[in-house]
């Protein structure tokens, strides 16, 4: 296949189709509308299932139904729509059926705006819906990475009978850049998973449910989910590293923030600062162990996000005050410029924070002081 100039949302949609998507159910919301629009054209012409639902609530429950049949199914939405889907996501997690969720984050809280944000990291990475469960969350930083993630997301969801979320922001959904799409997977493919509810032809009937009235039984279900999560933590940690071999300082950011930080790291390198970039790709499960390793040879970390430091909490779990850490965040749909992050790198090198300093608090005080000026 050749590289083409592709829009993020459309590339994601087509990559999912080529990965063998059986059904897409969604609802319009900016900045992910192009996923739904692409599906509305392509899925019917390929003879596959597509419904524009009456709301995200309907969409996620259609996904739930199709997931129970063992079909490859996905939906996509953006922040307020993802909030509406949380009920269904919890049921899907509790029923242990696979699905892929694309979350193109925008500024919030509330109706917020339609600009790129990473403000929903905690919502999706820490579960979101009610009950003890963990979705797998993958965060691409460019369109090629997002395209490559779609087949992977389905494979992981089906392997671990779980939700796999591809977490990006409005800028990645809306931008165009060259990327290569995968080959079309042979279709149709049988979906005859040994757990699926698809009509009891020649077999015992099956029931898929998330209700376990007996608490001892529900506890066993919870333990089974956690055991599977342990397997995921063992096998599915993913991250990217740039210029880390000789780095004294490490910038950490995921998705678009990580991508912008890479430009800042290159600019800092040009100025002679030995700095590298660590970009978590699986943000759930989070690469805690690798961050711990990086502590051994790093003088200071700069964590940068398009939120108030939600991933920073995960970094702090790994760093545990052993290495000075500085934080830089932009909120509400504002993306940082590479120059801003470069200035933060320089500030970190010039005035390293104390190891025990609360990075989020220190950043917030700086941010609030800037507002007052």
């Amino acid at each position: 296949m050749a590289r083409e100039l592709l829009k993020g949302n459309e590339a994601i949609a087509e990559a999912a189709i080529r990965a063998g998507l059986d059904a897409y159910y969604g609802y319009p919301i900016t900045p992910q509308n192009e996923v739904l629009e692409w599906m509305s054209k392509r899925m019917p012409e390929l003879g596959r299932a597509y419904v524009q639902a009456e709301a995200e609530l309907g969409a996620i429950n259609m996904v739930y139904g199709a997931a129970c049949t063992g079909a490859r199914v996905m939906t996509s939405s953006s922040s307020p729509g993802i909030s509406l889907m949380m009920e269904g996501l919890s049921y899907i997690a509790g029923t242990e059926v696979p699905m892929v969720l694309v979350n193109v984050m925008r500024g919030g809280p509330g109706l917020g705006n339609i600009a790129p944000s990473q403000g929903d990291y905690n919502q999706i990475c820490k579960g979101g819906g009610h009950g003890d469960y963990h979705p797998i969350v993958l965060a691409p930083a460019n369109i090629q990475e997002a395209v490559d993630m779609m087949p992977l997301a389905f494979d992981l969801a089906e392997k671990y009978l779980t939700i796999c979320c591809v977490l990006l922001d409005g800028s990645l959904g809306q931008m165009m850049e060259p990327a290569e799409l995968p080959e079309m997977k042979p279709y149709p493919h049988p979906f005859n998973q040994p757990w699926a509810v698809n009509g009891a032809i020649g077999r015992e009937r099956r029931i898929l449910t998330s209700i376990y009235l007996e608490p001892l039984e529900e506890e066993q279900v919870n333990l089974r989910l956690l055991k599977r999560w342990e397997e995921i933590k063992k096998n599915e940690i993913r991250y990217k590293e740039y210029y880390l071999d000789d780095a004294d300082y490490v910038v950490i950011g995921f998705g678009s923030a990580g991508r912008i930080a890479l430009s800042a790291v290159r600019a800092a390198r040009a100025k002679g600062i030995k700095v590298g970039l660590f970009r978590p790709v699986s943000v759930a499960p989070f690469p805690y162990a690798r961050v711990e390793e990086l502590c051994k040879k790093t003088q200071a970390f700069l964590v940068t996000e398009m939120n108030s430091g939600q991933m920073l909490d995960d970094i702090r779990l790994a760093v545990r005050n052993r290495v000075p850490t500085r934080f830089y965040g932009r909120l509400g749909g504002v993306m940082p410029f590479a120059d801003e992050i470069l200035a933060e790198i320089e500030a970190m090198v010039k005035n390293p924070p104390k190891a025990e300093e609360d990075a989020a608090q220190a950043w917030l005080q700086r941010a609030l002081a800037a507002v007052q000026d």
Partner: protein
């Protein structure tokens, strides 16, 4: 005992559409009747092994324990959406939801209206007993004006608590609906009519003629604080005038259907 039953003298047998499990419903509740009718129809049509049921939240949350086919359990009110998701990927299967009035006409209003509007090839069995049974007898969207429930202790005050919703009348206006009827389970004659309607509804789906729903007026002796026998009389006396029995939508192709 077994030797007493021979093919020659067998006049009734338990339908294969029901499992052997003892139902959890209260004495006098008509859920058991509705279950049996659905089970008999699915068995008679020979589709049990390719039927997928979608159970609701409410008293019939465990319908899947009793009806002998593949089943999923939906979130409260979302059964029509879940059924849509299933039917669209498995169009040759028979897919039905079994929902109560709180599940459908309150929390699930959006899902049911849009499933009907899209003309989803689903069958909906709608149990209307004018009360929330499972949570302890609270006011339902179909509770009658003045009806005492645990959340309308002095009677449903329409000034502050609104009026009952008539689902069949509402859904029959949608072009996607092929077959929408209301029946009652309060006496044997009406039970027979209910079964016939359930059969028609599943035939509508089998023939791809759009959304089909059978609303079944039902009793809740526990929630209504009445004996089983008195509740049957109460249904006839109070519910039928508020929810008239009848055929609300029979589309042209459905009318031409030979069963």
């Amino acid at each position: 005992m077994a030797t007493l039953v021979t093919p020659e003298n067998l006049v009734y047998a338990r339908t294969r559409g029901l499992t052997d499990m003892v139902e959890h419903y209260c004495p006098g509740c008509t859920h058991g009747v509705a279950h049996r009718l659905v089970a008999e129809v699915l068995e008679e049509m020979g589709v049990l092994d390719r039927t997928i049921g979608v159970a609701p939240v409410g008293c019939s949350v465990f319908a899947y324990n009793y009806l002998n086919c593949d089943f999923v359990e939906a979130a409260h009110g979302r059964a029509p959406a879940m059924a849509t998701g299933i039917k669209r990927v498995l169009p040759d299967r028979i897919v039905f939801t079994y929902q109560g009035d709180g599940d459908m006409a309150s929390i699930g209003m959006g899902e049911i209206v849009h499933a009907a509007a899209r003309g989803e090839n689903l069958t909906v069995i709608f149990i209307n007993n004018a009360i929330y049974g499972m949570t302890g007898g609270q006011m339902a969207p179909t509770s009658l004006p003045g009806m005492k429930t645990s959340s309308s202790p002095t009677g449903r005050d329409v000034e502050s608590q609104g009026f009952p919703i008539r689902m069949s009348e509402m859904l029959c206006t949608l072009e996607g609906a092929g077959y929408v009827v209301r029946r009652s389970l309060h006496d044997p004659a009406n039970i027979r009519k209910s079964k016939k309607a359930i059969r028609t509804a599943f035939e509508v789906q089998k023939n791809g003629l759009g959304f089909s729903m059978v609303e079944l007026l039902s009793t809740c002796p526990t929630g209504w604080s009445q004996t089983p026998v008195a509740s049957l009389g109460w249904l006839e006396e109070h519910m039928i005038p508020a929810f008239p029995l009848g055929d609300y939508k029979i589309s042209g192709p459905v009318a031409a259907l030979k069963i």
